[in-house]
């Protein structure tokens, strides 16, 4: 059993206790524990079930590479699935539950999959997708859905907050081990702006665990002193619990900082996403140990040797009383020695190498540890827990020479540099035959925009595995990076004393001649249940590319992204293909290095500040009135103002009728307003609009259309001539920024020599439309300006003071009624609106919303950009030929509109429609035509663009496009409906109300 040792543990604080629960069971640990070490201290070796076969899974690793220890953490608003126990710091009250088991962790029905493993071979999914087809839907999918899946999706709103932060530096050092620290010291002393990030809560990496001695001091002390030295440098920032997730072009780096993960509810943000722009990046990200592929290497109790050492030294965990160490290198002997020194028994070190001669094995032997050279683990005995190993010859086929009882197995297949950050932007790797791993090829680094290397790898991440080599490499690469930044750093040469190590020996299958029965039990990917036999099967079935094999077998596709399995898997593939490992190559390393939570990616953008919400100066008034708001671009505009229990539909009818018969008030502040000024402004506007704006007299208004180069209608609005060289262009509410950018685009890129300036003053003014037969009475009540027909006729504007407010009144109408649109500085908008409401009270003035606005304009047959237009409609389609100048030599869209397709008489054109039964045609309906097309779909001859119930006319009205347009007036046509039937309608003039425009011109 695993338990806590009575002494030791460099990271834990035994004076304090943390209580936590696992699957509802109460347990205790100490501050400084990870959840993994705390579970081990409570003999909770079993942490989950594998994905496919639901085999019992114990902890294998001690860090980010852990494939098995994933749990559901917390509850309610702090519930999080797939939390890795090895990187989760223990805290008081932590709640964790294992994943992917049913009905319980100890007894899982899914384990029957294990018994039928031969039915779930590599490529199972692909094979069943193909044949037999019905089986997938009816047999396999329901079963897979039941048994697959890892953590649960959170159900509640996240109780925590997150944020982003931007940072800039000359050198970003990823990894706070001795190599990273040394590099940061050199660059920092040279004056570089350095950011040093460490993913764990503790600094120093492996050196303090492995007992390295640096400059005559224990590594831990050297690390502390290095940190103190860095803390004194103002140009250096260090940050623990901050994982560099990805490296992107131009030195852009994303890093995830865990702030309150281990102190939930303390009011701090849970996580922070750092967005860093770095001159250079130094990847000192260490190395990960590889498992060995022997039968039963997935039985709980089998652990990586380095991880077991971490647990013993850092957390005083005994993984078991009696441990077998199996290795192909000298480093694993450190684990045997550490366990022995902790008072635990080493049953045997099984070394695959025929000759074992290094200093560490010599020390182990001297301590009385049994060392067996040239031997292999033939298989691990035990189901939910290791009970022993069967030992045989590594050179053999699996004959058992001896069975050794033990309750833990430490394995080491060598170490692979963490090359992720080097590789994210295309750094290339070379195969290191001696150390049997891929490491960064310094001659082919990822490059920056200037062709210079963007990432430097240092230390174990660069293949310098041993403590002394890693330190020296950190110093060398730190110097190189600082010089590359144009600095003159001073070299440093701290010396680390570590034992000599003999060469390791690549071992990809143990024993090397193992037969199929054993290979079926050799796990490569522990989480996704990919075994040596699966990769070999994929090779036999013709998969030669490592990328294809990965997807076919799912090797390395679990949440650990192949950190343990990749090299072993591709080595097996290479052997099966009789190819060299470098020829097979690796799969692609993509960000993030370890999963980044969605909350961190979203940052601040949730709730009230999920998205910018644009408010007019009158927004608060609308909300106070209980207006029902709708989004218009990023604006929120009142859709209608329901009174009491009034339905929206009833409110809209009331607002329309009140405006037609009395007076209505509209908040039109969102309308785009762009000033265009200059000697060439008239000429410029004549190019932008389809009609002539240069001839507009000062004081007058004119409606205009804007098209894109293709000729399609893009925006519309009323233009007012302010003075000799100034025009004010109204745009649609959603189009203001786009049209302003469009204007600047033409002025800056094409007509750069025209003397024209523009300014978007949309938000400078609040605009109130006072609309209806009694509109003039309201303005007269406010007082201060002559708003009579004679002084201020239709399509003119005037400046003045109304009710004490400085205003500009435009006599323009989007409703067909007598209408004044009054612009007032936005700071007075709310007060002016309130003044209008008060002045209008005696005339029955009511505010109306966007839906009434739409109905009013549709009754008049006025088009709406976005309803009658969709980017494929030209003004001529909408019978707006009158707004297109025939005299002008050119305007944007003119040539486009002359193309044969757009000039065709067969185009669908605007007409009005009235149902014979008075009903409202559904939005989006098509006008049916006889027959069916090649796809057996009903032929069509037109479609709805706007459809409403008209309170004024008491019936449904509709605008739409129909082949032939107004020529079809009088005909009966059929629209489809949402219920599947059709509705008959007559083609009519789209101006349903006040065809002669008498009401607006009073």
């Amino acid at each position: 059993m695993s338990t806590r040792l009575s002494r030791g543990g460099r990271l834990i604080d035994r004076s304090a206790t943390c209580r936590f629960t696992f699957n509802g069971r109460s347990m205790t640990g100490h501050p400084g524990d990870t959840l993994a070490s705390a579970l081990l201290a409570n003999d909770q070796l079993l942490v989950g079930r594998s994905f496919k076969y639901h085999r019992a899974r114990g902890l294998v690793a001690s860090g980010a590479e852990e494939p098995n220890g994933l749990v559901n953490m917390g509850s309610g608003g702090r519930f999080e699935p797939n939390q890795r126990v090895t990187t989760t710091e223990l805290f008081e009250g932590l709640e964790a539950a294992s994943q992917n088991h049913w009905p319980s962790l100890e007894f899982d029905v899914g384990v029957v999959n294990n018994a039928v493993a031969r039915f779930l071979p590599a490529g199972f999914y692909y094979k069943t997708f193909m044949f037999p087809r019905p089986f997938w839907k009816h047999v396999f999918e329901p079963v897979i859905r039941q048994s697959a899946g890892l953590g649960k999706a959170p159900k509640d709103r996240d109780a925590d907050r997150y944020e982003h932060a931007y940072a800039f530096c000359d050198l970003l050092v990823a990894g706070g081990g001795v190599a990273g620290l040394q590099a940061a010291l050199i660059a920092g002393r040279a004056g570089a702006r350095v950011i040093l990030l460490e993913q764990a809560a503790h600094w120093g990496g492996r050196a303090p665990v492995d007992g390295d001695v640096i400059d005559g001091k224990p590594a831990g002390q050297w690390v502390d002193e290095a940190l103190q030295a860095l803390a004194k440098m103002e140009n250096v920032t260090t940050r623990a619990r901050c994982m560099v997730a990805g490296v992107y072009d131009h030195g852009y780096v994303l890093a995830e900082e865990k702030i309150a993960d281990h102190t939930p509810g303390d009011g701090r943000p849970k996580k922070r996403l750092w967005r860093i722009r770095a001159g250079r990046i130094l990847a000192a990200t260490g190395a990960l140990e590889r498992p060995l592929s022997f039968a039963g290497n997935d039985v709980p109790g089998v652990m990586l040797a380095g991880a077991m050492r971490d647990y013993v030294v850092n957390h005083a965990i005994s993984p078991g009383d009696r441990t077998v160490v199996v290795t192909n290198n000298d480093d694993a002997y450190r684990t045997a020695i550490a366990l022995k020194e902790a008072g635990l028994e080493i049953a045997c070190v099984i070394d695959a190498r025929a000759i074992v001669s290094g200093a560490l094995p010599a020390k182990a032997r001297a301590m009385g540890i049994r060392v067996e050279a040239g031997r292999a683990v033939v298989k691990v005995k035990g189901g939910k827990r290791v009970t022993g190993v069967a030992m045989g010859l590594q050179a053999g086929e699996g004959a058992v020479l001896e069975e050794i009882a033990c309750d833990a197995v430490a394995m080491s297949g060598g170490w692979s540099p963490v090359v992720h950050l080097w590789s994210h932007c295309g750094g290339k790797l070379i195969w290191d035959e001696a150390q049997a791993h891929f490491r960064p090829d310094a001659t082919r680094p990822p490059t920056n925009q200037d062709g210079a290397p963007m990432v430097h790898a240092a230390g174990a991440a660069n293949g310098a595995l041993r403590g002394d080599a890693a330190l020296a490499d950190g110093a060398r690469v730190g110097l190189e990076a600082a010089q590359a930044l144009g600095l003159t750093p001073t070299a440093a040469s701290p010396t680390a004393e570590v034992p000599e190590e003999a060469a390791m020996e690549a071992v990809w299958i143990m024993p090397q001649g193992a037969g199929p029965q054993l290979r079926m039990k050799m796990w490569l990917d522990f989480q996704n249940d990919v075994k040596v036999s699966d990769v070999q099967l994929a090779a036999r079935e013709g998969y030669e590319s490592v990328e294809h094999t990965k997807r076919y077998t799912t090797l390395g596709m679990a949440t650990d992204q192949g950190k343990l399995s990749n090299i072993n898997g591709l080595a097996v593939l290479a052997k099966s293909l009789n190819a060299g490992i470098p020829q097979v190559g690796t799969t692609t390393f993509r960000p993030p290095y370890t999963p980044v939570t969605f909350g961190a990616l979203a940052g601040e953008s949730r709730g009230e500040i999920f998205q910018p919400l644009r408010r007019t100066p009158m927004h608060g008034w609308h909300e106070a009135q209980g207006a029902y708001m709708e989004p218009v671009g990023l604006w929120r505009r009142p859709y209608c103002y329901p009174r009491g229990n009034e339905s929206h539909e009833a409110a809209v009818r009331r607002e329309v009728l009140n405006t037609r018969n009395g007076v209505g008030l509209l908040d039109a502040s969102t309308l785009g307003k762009i000033i265009v000024k200059g000697p060439d402004a008239g000429r410029f506007l004549d190019m932008l609009y389809t009609n002539v704006m240069s001839s507009l007299p000062v004081g007058k208004c004119r409606y205009g259309l804007m098209c894109n180069e293709q000729g399609f209608l893009s925006d519309d609005g009323v233009v007012a001539r302010i003075d000799e060289d100034t025009w004010l262009c109204h745009t649609t509410s959603g189009g203001a920024d786009r049209i302003h950018a469009w204007m600047e685009d033409w002025l800056q890129c094409e007509w750069w020599d025209w003397q024209v300036y523009t300014a978007n003053v949309t938000e400078q003014y609040a605009q109130v439309a006072v609309v209806g037969p009694k509109a003039r009475l309201v303005l007269e009540k406010l007082g201060g300006m002559d708003v009579s027909k004679e002084t201020l006729p239709f399509m003119q504007w005037a400046d003045g003071t109304l009710g004490g407010f400085p205003v500009r009144i435009y006599r323009i109408s989007f409703s067909g009624e007598l209408s004044y649109e009054i612009a007032v500085p936005a700071s007075h908008g709310a007060a002016f609106w309130e003044a209008c409401v008060a002045a209008g009270a005696e005339f029955g003035a009511m505010p109306y919303g966007t839906e009434a606005l739409h109905v009013l304009r549709a009754e008049k047959g006025f088009i709406m950009i976005g309803d009658e237009t969709d980017g494929t409609v030209i003004p001529q389609d909408l019978n707006l030929g009158w707004a297109i100048s025939k005299k002008k030599a050119d305007y944007l869209g003119k040539r486009g509109q002359e193309r044969t397709y757009l000039a065709s008489p067969d185009r669908w054109k605007l007409a009005g429609f009235e149902t014979l039964d008075g009903s409202v045609i559904p939005d989006g309906a098509y006008i049916l035509a006889p027959g069916f097309n090649a796809n057996a779909q009903r032929n069509t001859q037109g479609r709805v663009t706007s459809t409403y119930f008209s309170p004024t006319l008491g019936r449904g009205i509709c605008m739409g496009l129909i082949r032939g347009g107004l020529d079809r007036i009088g005909e009966e046509v059929e629209f489809n409906t949402t219920s599947g039937g059709t509705v008959k309608a007559r083609v009519v003039d789209p101006v349903f109300y006040d065809k002669d425009g008498e009401k607006q011109n009073v």
């Binding site: 944020e163 009011g267 722009r277 938000e763 004490g804 700071s827 007075h828």
Partner: protein, 183 residues
């Protein structure tokens, strides 16, 4: 006439830095090429400030002149002086191609103050705050909207569009919450 109302009525938030909406301030967008005769006089007449160099803002006694682009300046002055300033600009640049409009009401202005005020902005704007120079006007974005800010006294003055004042106040408050200091 009513008193001018700012978008948020002077909202404030106290966290590890203090955030408050200020204003109303008078603001003028002046567009003219840098070599137009009379430009420096116009800016001087409106604000008392010298013509700002590229990416700079010149401040003087509650007035300021900022460089916004090669042919655009932002002039800041007391709200009530805007019309007079526009008239002065018009006089100084008579006959020269330019555009001067009041944008006082189109903007919201915030102060972010305190020794760690820069950290609030560092969470929202992709700006190297450590290298932001005194007198540098930084046009950038805060999260999803356009903004400009500069260091001024014990903090920063930030300008954004009026319609998104509530959003920006939300951003600044979120980022200034106690306990979320960057260092």
């Amino acid at each position: 006439m009513s008193e001018p109302r700012t978008a948020l009525g002077g909202a404030a938030f106290d966290g590890f830095a203090e955030v408050r909406e200020i204003g109303p301030l008078g603001m003028i967008t002046l567009r003219a090429k840098a070599d137009v005769p009379g430009l420096a006089e116009a800016v001087k007449a409106a604000t008392g400030c010298a013509l700002p160099a590229q990416r700079r803002i010149v401040t003087q006694g509650g007035k300021a002149a900022g460089w916004m682009s090669p042919d655009e300046y932002l002039l800041i002055l007391p709200y009530a002086e805007t019309d007079a300033a526009l008239a002065a600009i018009g006089a100084a640049l008579r006959g020269q191609h330019h555009l001067a409009v009041a944008v006082s009401d189109a903007r919201a202005v915030f102060r972010v103050e305190g020794t760690k005020a820069a950290q609030v902005l560092a969470k929202l704007a992709p700006v190297d705050m450590a290298r932001l120079e005194p007198g540098e006007l930084r046009r950038t974005r805060t999260a999803q909207v356009a903004a400009a800010f500069w260091a001024d006294g014990e903090g920063f003055t930030l300008v954004c569009f009026r319609s998104v004042a509530g959003y920006v106040m939300g951003l600044l408050s979120h980022s200034a919450q106690a306990g979320s200091e960057l260092s």
